[in-house]
């Protein structure tokens, strides 16, 4: 007797299609990035990466990412805590609101921020009168990056914290634990892997964000140019090797992120197997 899907030809052709498509759409472009970046040898590749403007773009991207992660970390934990540990009217609505950045196109998000905080915007006018510039400067880039990445941590934590329930925290309270001790010694250890996972995703997105950032950045070389924007700028300047050198750097960061994610998942399954 054969089970469904046991036919050898079916299995083989499915595998062939899956492998073929993955190679064509995923692997080949990745190989192409590194091939292009190194097309003129290692020398020009290094030279392009150590170019003054490229270094500035790398610096800005890292700066924004390093600020985004802790802000979203705190925000995400607070939000997940609020949604899973308290019952209040509007809780469902809040849970839906968290997903807005997933649903909305990043370009639209950028435009909305421009509309609100730009010089002629609703809040921007008041800010301008007080000599505060958010748009076309790093604070604007930071704001849209936070917007785009804010669901990642909360989305990882909410299902886990819902599943775990609040019994352990209640037990800790009956034993006299208060506020931060409770969080540090009981809540945090239970959510740390999901939290790290959320941070990795946040990091990946913050480094690679293009759409929203391109609207609010103004792409001033050496000032408000992030790494993804820099790639586009170089490409438009017909500096293919330079563009691909920066792109290769982004791809490398992505690959490292994936490796970290895979390692966490492997750890998680191993921990489950142990207990």
């Amino acid at each position: 007797m054969q089970r469904i899907g046991d036919a050898p030809w079916l299995r083989r052709s499915l595998i062939a299609v899956a492998v073929g498509l993955s190679a064509l759409f995923l692997l080949l472009p990745l190989v192409a990035i590194f091939a292009q970046a190194l097309a003129e040898g290692v020398g020009p590749f290094i030279a392009n990466l150590t170019d003054q403007y490229t270094l500035a773009a790398i610096g800005l991207t890292l700066f924004v990412t390093l600020l985004t992660i802790p802000i979203n970390l705190v925000f995400g934990v607070m939000l997940a805590w609020l949604v899973t540990r308290f019952a209040f009217p509007g809780r469902r609505l809040l849970q839906t609101l968290i997903d807005i950045p997933f649903a909305i196109s990043p370009v639209v998000a950028g435009l909305v921020y421009l509309l609100l905080y730009g010089r002629n915007g609703w809040i921007g006018g008041w800010l301008d009168a007080h000599d505060i510039q958010l748009m076309f400067a790093w604070p604007g880039i930071l704001m849209v990056t936070i917007f785009v990445t804010c669901p990642f941590v909360a989305r990882e934590l909410i299902p886990l914290m819902q599943a775990q329930g609040s019994r352990e925290e209640e037990a800790a309270v009956t034993l006299g634990a208060r506020g931060f001790t409770l969080f540090r010694r009981v809540t945090l250890p239970n959510i740390r892997w999901a939290l790290l996972y959320g941070v990795i995703l946040t990091n990946a997105r913050a480094v690679g964000e293009f759409g929203a950032v391109s609207v609010v950045s103004g792409a001033i070389r050496g000032e408000t140019n992030t790494l993804p924007l820099h790639v586009e700028l170089l490409y438009q300047d017909y500096n293919t090797v330079g563009a691909f050198a920066s792109a290769a750097l982004l791809a490398l960061i992505a690959l490292l992120t994936l490796a970290a994610k895979a390692m966490l998942e492997w750890r998680a399954t191993r921990r489950e197997a142990l207990t």
Binding site: E168, E170, A171, A172, T174, L175, G176, R178, P189, T275
Partner: protein, 367 residues
């Protein structure tokens, strides 16, 4: 430490979980809160603990001894709480679980780590788990986890121990063992304990007094013995054990239901009688004042008694009768056999709030 509850009520949204409740628990007592699910027993326990707040009312008071704890936060009430599913800290070893309460004390009150160590090991010895101190909760059996949870709750030497369905998730044998062990611990350490259960046997076996609850109200508070012998109303009677029903029309002192007849001392009209399984005898012949024909559905020997299930057209549900092995053998009961049920005594709870009646049939059956 005694516990006084005055005018405790609780609403969740619009539904009332507890109607105003007053309850006095004496120092050193072991009290069982017994009721079906949704009766409010767990809510009441969590209110005593401070994990839930009662509705605001000017008469609402919770006193531990002389100390008014109505407005005191859980962490400052100094109670021990044992959760239904243990709620052990899964990322901590057994040792760290038990030590937790001591390690989170304010620095000034916190014992040295050597003192903590000896106290924890002493507690683990008490629950006979010192050899598992380095294990993690997931590596323990349910019974072991519950013992860790008890040791953890006792680490701060609380004078009040609250337990929420402590043995609910364990198998019968472990449950039996832990019950005995909790009773022993309670008597030895002299704290006041309140535990929640939906298992009447557990409540009757373990408690000094049982609080029977239903629909957010207290139905009766009494010692297990009084409770079983003199249930105050029909709910308590039915909840405390298996019940057989006999419903029919009474006329001139005879209750009739189909082809069943029983002489009763009740007013004319529709009446319902309740009988415990051990109050029903099985005989081969009917008697002048009791004609209740039935056939044997099943015969199950359980421990010291034999449970016989009887069925007949006049019953709304099959009856259960418990016989001694001796009687069962003498009657040589077989499945499908025609027999007669003979009530030894029966109980009657009028719908109105009158005093309940229990009648023993004047002439004892001599089968």
């Amino acid at each position: 430490m005694s516990i006084h509850l005055r005018h405790i009520q609780k609403h969740f949204g619009r539904s009332q979980a507890l109607s105003p409740i007053d309850l006095e628990i004496r120092s050193g007592e072991l009290i069982g809160l017994l009721g079906p699910s949704g009766s409010g027993k767990t809510t009441l326990l969590r209110i005593i603990a401070g994990l839930e707040t009662p509705d605001d009312h000017r008469d609402c008071r919770i006193l531990f001894g002389e100390r008014d704890v109505t407005q005191v936060h859980v962490r400052d009430r100094r109670i021990g709480f044992v959760f239904q599913h243990y709620a052990l800290f899964r990322h901590m070893s057994v040792f760290d679980n038990v030590a937790f309460g001591l390690t989170v004390l304010p620095r000034a009150e916190r014992p040295s780590s050597a003192e903590i160590r000896s106290r924890v090991m002493q507690l683990l010895e008490m629950v006979q788990l010192s050899h598992l101190a380095e294990r993690f909760p997931a590596q323990l059996s349910g019974g072991q986890q519950q013992r860790v949870s008890l040791a953890r709750a006792l680490a701060l030497k609380p004078e009040v121990l609250l337990l929420d369905e402590p043995f609910g998730a364990l198998d019968a044998k472990v449950r039996q063992e832990l019950r005995r062990w909790l009773r022993h611990l309670h008597d030895e350490l002299g704290f006041t304990s309140v535990f929640v259960t939906h298992d009447q046997e557990e409540a009757l076996e373990l408690s000094d007094r049982v609080v029977v609850m239903s629909n957010g109200r207290i139905e009766q508070v009494d010692t297990p013995d009084t409770l079983y012998r003199a249930p105050r109303n029909r709910f308590v009677f039915e909840f405390l054990g298996d019940v057989n029903h006999l419903e029919g029309v009474v006329q001139d002192g005879v209750l009739t239901c189909g082809d069943a007849r029983l002489a009763v001392d009740l007013e004319d009209g529709r009446q319902e009688l309740l009988l415990r399984p051990h109050e029903v005898q099985v005989a081969l012949q009917a008697q002048a004042d009791a004609h209740l024909p039935a056939s044997v559905m099943s015969i199950v020997p359980v421990g010291a008694e034999v449970r016989v299930e009887l069925s007949a057209d006049w019953m709304s549900e099959p009856w259960m009768a418990t016989l001694s092995h001796q009687d069962a053998e003498r009657l040589s009961l077989k499945r499908g056999m025609r027999v007669h049920a003979l009530p030894r005594r029966w109980h009657h709870y009028p719908d109105a709030q009158e005093a309940p009646g229990t009648q023993v049939r004047p002439q004892q059956v001599s089968a």
